[in-house]
Each structure stands twice: as structure tokens, then as C-alpha cells.
């Protein structure tokens, strides 16, 4: 008897914190949040010896998700989020394979020294996720997303080191801080990438969610034909913020 009552109470809680529109079991969530992360090789290759500086650039996301529950626990969610994200990083690398193309000229080799990178992306993400209600007030959702990039930068410089031209037995070319070699790969970047979004929502108030999650890029930001950066670079961003539930 007691168990049934408890179950009924939980049932009430699920209904109480359920979709805004009880007839259609659906609703809309407007989100605004902060994005923190970077575009990185995964896992970090051994050639990266230390990360000395890390600073996010930009870092906002706004968007909306429409969802519909198809059972007590399960639902589907489709969104459209705008983002502006990026980072600045300074790393010490050893024997890091790199190449630079410019006006049909090519210089490649293995660099040991300091590598500074700044990258920014402005775009939108379309996630299609399955939603699962962990508890009356907790939702988890996961699924693929496609990101379209409207504006992007990927630039940086190398210094305090040397390049072994071609391979580690090639000519050593000194590159000092006073005279860094700069690079800009924005034109080599793809205009899209896809990945997996994992998001947690906590219904803090009747119409207000707190959310946090990860957009884990599964395709590189550069095409596979781009050999300048030896490693596939994946965008990996965490986001957290507040949402309004209609």
C-alpha cells in the first residue's frame, strides 16, 4: 500500500515536471549559455610536451530545442543552436610534424619549440537527440549533431625553436621569438563538422532549466587532404547555461 502511494507520488512528480503541453507531450526550450573548449587532437599526441597557456575566445551559445515525449521516459529533441566559440593556446612541442603552404610553395618539417594557436568559429549546430528522463527533474539527452560554420579563423605562430626541414635529419632552421613564423589555415578549414551532443537538463524552476553538456566533434575541422597539421583536429566544447521552457 505504502509502495503504491510512493509510486503514485512519483508519477505525479513526473507529470508535474513534465512537458508544458500535456496534450501533445511536447514543448520548446530556449537556451543561452557559455561555451568552453578547444579544437584539439585526441588523444593529445606525445609530441605535445606541455600546454602553457589556455584561454577561451568567444564562448556563447543561444538556441532552441523542440521536443516531444513518446513515453514516460523517452522523447526526441531537435534543436538549432548558434555558437561563437574559440580558444587561444600555447604549447611546447617536440618533433611536431608540420607543413606550410603558401602561393604554391611548400615548406614542411618537424618543429620543436613553442606553438601558439588562435581559433574561432561562428556557426550553428543542429542536434537531433534522444531524451531520457532520469528523474522528474533531471533529463539526459544524447545524439548526433551537424555544425555549419559561417565564419572561422585558425592562425598562430611558432617560435623559440627550430624546424628540421623535411624530416628529423633535414636542415635545421632556427626560429626565434623575435621573428616567429606565422600561419593562417582558415581557408583550409571545412565549413561543417559533425559530432555527438550529450546534454543534461535540471528543471530548477517551473520554466527554468539549468543545463550542461558536451559537443564532441567526431569529424576533423580540416579535410583529410590537408596534411599541414599531422593530427586530426576535433572540436571539443563543453557548454553550460540557463534555459527557458515554454
Amino acid at each position: 500500500m505504502a509502495a503504491t502511494t510512493a509510486s503514485a507520488q512519483t508519477e505525479d512528480k513526473y507529470a508535474e515536471w513534465g512537458p508544458t503541453n500535456r496534450d501533445t507531450q511536447s514543448g520548446v526550450i530556449i537556451r543561452a549559455g557559455y561555451v568552453l573548449g578547444g579544437t584539439t587532437p585526441l588523444p593529445l599526441p606525445a609530441q605535445v610536451r606541455s600546454i602553457n597557456e589556455f584561454k577561451p575566445l568567444g564562448g556563447i551559445t543561444v538556441g532552441a530545442d523542440a521536443y516531444r515525449m513518446i513515453s514516460r521516459h523517452w522523447g526526441l529533441q531537435l534543436g538549432w543552436h548558434f555558437f561563437y566559440e574559440g580558444f587561444h593556446t600555447g604549447a611546447t612541442v617536440k618533433n611536431y610534424r608540420m607543413g606550410i603552404t603558401k602561393d604554391g610553395n611548400y615548406l614542411e618539417g618537424n618543429f620543436t619549440g613553442t606553438d601558439i594557436t588562435d581559433t574561432k568559429m561562428l556557426g550553428s549546430t543542429i542536434p537531433l537527440t534522444a531524451t531520457y528522463r532520469l528523474s522528474p527533474r533531471w533529463n539526459a539527452s544524447a545524439g548526433p549533431f551537424l555544425s555549419l560554420i559561417y565564419y572561422k579563423t585558425f592562425e598562430g605562430e611558432v617560435y623559440d625553436g627550430y624546424l628540421r626541414e623535411g624530416n628529423p635529419t633535414g636542415q635545421k632552421v632556427e626560429i626565434t621569438r623575435d621573428n616567429p613564423a606565422t600561419y593562417d589555415f582558415k581557408d583550409d578549414m571545412l565549413n561543417w563538422y559533425w559530432g555527438i551532443q550529450v546534454l543534461f537538463d535540471w528543471k530548477a524552476m517551473r520554466h527554468m532549466n539549468v543545463f550542461g553538456g558536451v559537443d564532441w566533434g567526431c569529424s576533423g575541422v580540416f579535410p583529410s587532404t590537408f596534411k599541414t597539421v599531422e593530427f586530426k583536429m576535433f572540436p571539443l566544447y563543453a557548454k553550460f547555461g540557463l534555459a527557458y521552457r515554454y
Binding site: 568552453l36 593529445l44 627550430y162 628529423p168
Partner: protein
């Protein structure tokens, strides 16, 4: 608002810490160079002109003459003795390689681990019978290796031909990759002379350039005698050049060596890359020859801004003391080749009198002016070095010049007193 700005600080420190936690073990070294190499003799002055000739390679920099390193571009290490020396006994040979790398000597076709300091047969005689030893350096990561040859060379007895040292730029070929021209001196009286230029540096900025699009080019026909001549052109270095703020490369050609490892290292590096002069047992008196010069349209400064002056070429010969008061090696570079206190003799073209028509072969005749007495004994003991330099832009070392400035040179003669 102020509080908000403070939050990211430790958040970021945490982020950096987290990222560093992902960092893998340091990979083994991939490089496998002979970094330093020297031979030990109890009385080096009996065999060599200078103590420092027992160290292979080049001084690390002008400021650190006592420290010599083997340039990474080198795979043949040659020690040059006095002309009348003979090496018959094995000499202790010292070799330092990249940390972690292993060094082997090749004996009977097999790689035998080599312990630095082991006496090695490097016998050498004046008739050119010399033992060349082969070495292999294998990297710590066991992926890469480099082969080196080490030998001692005895130069021919210095002698001065009555007609002077004639230089005709006829000994040219493409480098091993077929990308640009390199020169060897064909005059049998000047076999030790090494011509260098900035082509290896230009190649890094413009890998797509054809051999005849480089700043320093051999032209096979049309010289003073109808044969080959030297053509120097101030060239645009393209996108890479702009990246490192070196927009132009003047065509140059000089006696000495070019350290391409320094070439992209800013203004100071570019000046240090041109190492002028080699020990010379003759006292120069005149530099004469034939030239043709036409300046490019607009002289530009290092930032690429047009300058309100015309470009002009440069031709000079410098004779300088190659040892300082402490007995250390002195090698002039782009920063001091015309200003060093070690300079005793200088011949230089008068820029105001350079013909800029670019037509026909015109003679130049430049006396070497001495600012001090030079003793013949010191000259014979090779206490002086000599360089001859040609450049299509006088301020080329500072990346100022006009793209398209062209200097052609042929049939140069260096007259000496003895």
C-alpha cells in the same frame, strides 16, 4: 561585473592542469646529428695553422667564436692542415652526437660502436692520398639515421700565378636536388676557395622556383668571352618571405659559407647566415673584372614600402685578420663584413659611378686600400681571411632593394702582391 571576470582565472588554471594531465611520456629523440667533432693533437700548431682548425664546423655565432658546431647541412667533415703537413699516425677523434643517438664507425662494411676519443686512421699526404672514415649516427627513437664522412685534407702549396687569380664562374652545376645552382672554383690555384650564396635560403621561401628563377643563377652563354657568367637578381620571396618579414632576396655570391639554419631567423639571423671569407695566403692588391647592372624599378624597405632612392649593386673584396687578440677565430658576417676592426684591406665599387644602363660588359677595377701594415709571414701563416662579394642590391642584407635589380659579373681577376 568585476567578480565575474575573476572566475575564469582559476577555471582556466584548472583547464590547463587537466589538459597537462593528458600529456604522454616524452618521445625519444628523432634527431641524429654529429653536433661537434674535433681531433686531439699534442702540438696542433705543427700540423694546423690555427688551434681552432682542430675543431670541425662553424662558430656558433660571431659572439661565441670558441664554440664551433657542425652545420646540420654538412655530411662530410674535413679538417684542413698546413700545406706541408703529413698525417701518418692514427689521431684521437672526438665526436658528440644528438643526446640519445648512437654512433657507429663503418669497418669492413659493418657498423661498429664508436667511442669518442678513439684514435682513428685519418692519414693524409700532399698528393691527396687520404683516408676517409665513414660513420653512422642512429637516432634514439631508432627510426632515423645519418651518414657522415670524416677526413683530413692537406691543401696544395700556395702559389701565385703571374696573371693573378682568374675567376670565371665556369664551375657550376645544380645542387643534389636539382633545385638551384652551386659553384665550385675551377681555377687550380684556388682549389680551397668556396663560393656561397643565398640560394639555399631562397629555396625555403620559394620551393616552386625553377633554377633560373633563383637570385643567384649561372647563365651558360653570353659572358665576356662568350661563355658562362654569373647573374644576380633581387627577387620577391613571396608569401613565406612576408611571413618572416623578408620580402626580398638580393642575388649574392661570395667567398665563405651560407648558414641556411640562420637564414630565416630575423634580421640578425639573416646577417649571421652569410659567413664571409676563408684563410688566404696571398695579399690582395686589386679586384678587377666586368659587370653589367640594371636597377629594378622601385627600391623598397623591409616593410615593403617604396623608398625615395634608386637601387645599386655592390662589389667588394675584404681582407681581414681571422684571429682576435685571445687567439680565437674571427669570421666576419653580414653584420660586420664592411665595418669590423679586423679589416685591414678593402676594395669596393663606388656606388655613384656604377653604370645603370644594363647594356654591354663594363670593366671595374678596384684597388685594395690598406689601413695598416700587413706582414708577409702572417699572411703566409694564414692569419688573414679574404672574401670577394657581389650583390644585386647594396642593402640586400637588410632586405632593402628593388625587385628586378640585376647584376651580371664575369672574368674577375684578383691581383695579389705575392
Amino acid at each position: 561585473m568585476k567578480m565575474k571576470r575573476r572566475i575564469p582565472l582559476y577555471a582556466l588554471a584548472l583547464a590547463a592542469l587537466t589538459l597537462n594531465a593528458c600529456i604522454d611520456h616524452e618521445p625519444a629523440n628523432a634527431e641524429c646529428d654529429i653536433e661537434r667533432c674535433w681531433i686531439h693533437l699534442d702540438q696542433p700548431e705543427d700540423i694546423f695553422y690555427h688551434d681552432y682548425d682542430t675543431l670541425a664546423g662553424e662558430p656558433i655565432s660571431v659572439d661565441r667564436p670558441a664554440e664551433k658546431v657542425v652545420p646540420t647541412s654538412l655530411d662530410s667533415i674535413v679538417f684542413t692542415t698546413r700545406w706541408n703537413a703529413t698525417i701518418s699516425q692514427p689521431v684521437p677523434l672526438f665526436i658528440e652526437v644528438t643526446p640519445g643517438a648512437k654512433l657507429f664507425i663503418i669497418q669492413d662494411g659493418r657498423e661498429v660502436p664508436f667511442v669518442s676519443g678513439t684514435p682513428v686512421d685519418l692519414h693524409a699526404t700532399a698528393v691527396g692520398e687520404n683516408a676517409e672514415q665513414h660513420f653512422v649516427v642512429r637516432s634514439e627513437d631508432e627510426i632515423w639515421s645519418r651518414h657522415y664522412r670524416i677526413s683530413i685534407q692537406i691543401p696544395p702549396m700556395p702559389s701565385y700565378p703571374p696573371e693573378g687569380f682568374e675567376i670565371k664562374f665556369e664551375g657550376y652545376e645544380l645542387n643534389s636536388n636539382g633545385q638551384y645552382y652551386v659553384w665550385t672554383e675551377t681555377n687550380p690555384f684556388l682549389t680551397e676557395i668556396q663560393w656561397a650564396n643565398g640560394n639555399p635560403g631562397f629555396r625555403m621561401s620559394k620551393s616552386s622556383a625553377k633554377p633560373n628563377e633563383y637570385p643567384t643563377v649561372a647563365v651558360p652563354e653570353g659572358g665576356v668571352d662568350g661563355g658562362p657568367y654569373l647573374k644576380l637578381t633581387t627577387c620577391d620571396t613571396g608569401g613565406f618571405g612576408r611571413m618572416v618579414n623578408m620580402r626580398i632576396a638580393a642575388g649574392n655570391h661570395f667567398i665563405g659559407s651560407f648558414d641556411v639554419g640562420q637564414a630565416l631567423n630575423g634580421q640578425a639571423g639573416a646577417l649571421a647566415a652569410t659567413r664571409f671569407g676563408q684563410p688566404f695566403a696571398h695579399k690582395p692588391t686589386r679586384l678587377r673584372g666586368f659587370y653589367r647592372f640594371k636597377p629594378g624599378a622601385v627600391k623598397q624597405d623591409r616593410q615593403g614600402n617604396p623608398m625615395d632612392e634608386a637601387d645599386v649593386c655592390d662589389i667588394y673584396c675584404v681582407f681581414y685578420r681571422n684571429t682576435d687578440a685571445a687567439g680565437k677565430q674571427v669570421q666576419l658576417d653580414g653584420a660586420n663584413v664592411l665595418s669590423s676592426e679586423n679589416i685591414v684591406g678593402l676594395a669596393r665599387i663606388n656606388h655613384a659611378e656604377v653604370d645603370t644602363s644594363g647594356e654591354g660588359w663594363l670593366p671595374f677595377d678596384l684597388p685594395v686600400n690598406y689601413n695598416t701594415e700587413v706582414s708577409e709571414d702572417d699572411v703566409k701563416e694564414r692569419h688573414y681571411s679574404m672574401t670577394i662579394c657581389f650583390s644585386s642590391s647594396v642593402d640586400g642584407a637588410y632586405f632593402r632593394g628593388a625587385i628586378g635589380s640585376e647584376l651580371c659579373v664575369d672574368n674577375v681577376t684578383l691581383e695579389c702582391e705575392y
